[in-house]
Amino acid sequence: MHIVDGALSGPVLAAGGAVTLAGTAWGLRSIGEREIPRVGLLSAAFFMASLIHVPVGPSSVHLILNGLIGLVLGWRAFPALLVALLLQAVFFGFGGVVVLGVNVANIALPAVLIHFLLRDALGRFRGRTAVFAMGLLAGAGSIMGTTLLVAASLAGSGQEFLPAAELVFFTHIPVMVVEGLLTGAALVLIRRVRPELLHRVAEAAPLAEPAPALAAEGRS
């Protein structure tokens, strides 16, 4: 859901830029110096996600997975997504330059929101079904948030975009379902293989205990 340059009005562009600037500054502050490899690798993993096409009906969608990004990274989602979208624009020609702030804010804001809404609850639930349900909620909710923000960016830029804004929302309902199911499954797996990924990424935890490599090999 990359908006291109030229469509949005000045105030919308300025607002998106300001939100992204503030979110990135705040996110960077909370990245410890030793955490950079970790956030960098997760950012690369999410960049990969945007290249994966998943069949849906007769067509296919590419993943955003910002719910999962939010749960794992919190405020760090802003710098991670800024880097990912910047690289997409520079090397693949997606999105634009002036509109970059709006595009990052549209994806990162719901991610951060999901983080604060669901992270504590996620710590309390243990059962497979409950974790899957949380993932479903996080995945579908964050895409819905992004779609609403994209629609709002368009509607805020001119009345003539209103029908397109509505169309964006309704055509993305299948995407919400798929991202929800995917995020649910991914959470169930992470919860079983590396539960600390969901809780401990916040602390700088320099040396982790040996990874459960065997358990990891078994499921993929």
């Binding site: 469509a7 490899p37 956030v39 693949f92 020609g93 993929s220």
Partner: protein, 260 residues
């Protein structure tokens, strides 16, 4: 079976070789030029000015001898929803009637608005691909660093670039393991949860890798700071390119201002 591999996006343009004239121009000059161009083009309204602006981008692309096919494909490739957006515009913008089709009325104003957005979007992306997309990521990082972007963000960028390729291979390995067990992507619950496991596994593995990377870096004396060593100097080529490019932008701005 276009998604048999799961990855069907085009790969990035190759960075230009060292001796190319564009590579003799400092990354900072190129980044600033592409940004100035983007802001100016987005601010313009006159279609003729936008056309000339896009022409400058095409001219630079030709002068740099970039491969035409891949460059243009990336310039024109947009999300489906942008295509819908532009196609809807003539029918949703009030103004002078262009044609009527059943209950729908298309207007010239909407058509020109769509053309305006298309020209801006294409121009900005083309210039970005030509000036910035042709440098390797290290150069981009160093350039942004010297332009005052926060060091942590630069490190994050360099790490992301470094491990994108590694994770892509990891992803393809996992994907191949699934295919070996007879997995065929379909539009059903099984496929979507399998992709969820696949991506969850990718995250877990990248996290494990990041711990090994950090350990290895600490063995080599990493104390949380990177020292970016570069030898960026603004030279004659930069002044020459900068002057010509700025003259072009001033001309565009002048035309827009005089025409409006």
């Amino acid at each position: 079976m276009s998604h048999a591999l799961g990855v069907s996006r085009p790969r990035g343009l190759e960075a230009l070789p060292e001796g190319h004239w564009l590579q003799r121009i400092d990354p900072r000059t190129r980044i600033v030029a592409a940004m100035a161009y983007a802001f100016l083009l987005v601010a313009c309204r006159d279609l003729r000015v936008l056309g000339i602006g896009l022409g400058i981008g095409v001219g630079l692309m030709l002068a740099a001898r970039l491969p035409l096919g891949p460059t243009l494909r990336r310039t024109l490739g947009v999300d489906l929803f942008i295509v819908m957006l532009l196609l809807l515009l003539p029918f949703t913008t009030p103004g002078q009637v262009w044609f009527q089709w059943g209950p729908l009325t298309a207007t010239w104003d909407g058509l020109w608005r769509g053309v305006e957005i298309g020209l801006k979007a294409a121009g900005v992306i083309l210039m970005l691909l030509v000036l910035v997309g042709t440098m390797d990521a290290t150069r981009l990082g160093h350039g942004l660093h010297r332009l005052g972007v926060a060091p942590k963000l630069i490190h994050l960028l360099l790490f992301t670039v470094r491990y994108m390729g590694v994770l892509r291979r990891e992803f393809l390995r996992l994907r191949q393991a699934m295919r070996a067990r007879g997995f065929v992507p379909r539009s059903d619950l099984h496929t979507w949860t399998s992709y969820g496991y696949l991506f969850g596994m990718l995250l877990v593995r990248s996290l494990e890798r990041s711990e090994r990377v950090l350990d290895a870096m600490r063995c080599r004396g990493f104390d949380g700071r990177f020292h970016l060593l570069d030898s960026l100097r603004l030279g004659q080529a930069d002044w020459a390119f900068g002057t010509v490019f700025a003259a072009g932008l001033i001309l565009l701005g002048g035309l827009e201002w005089a025409g409006g």
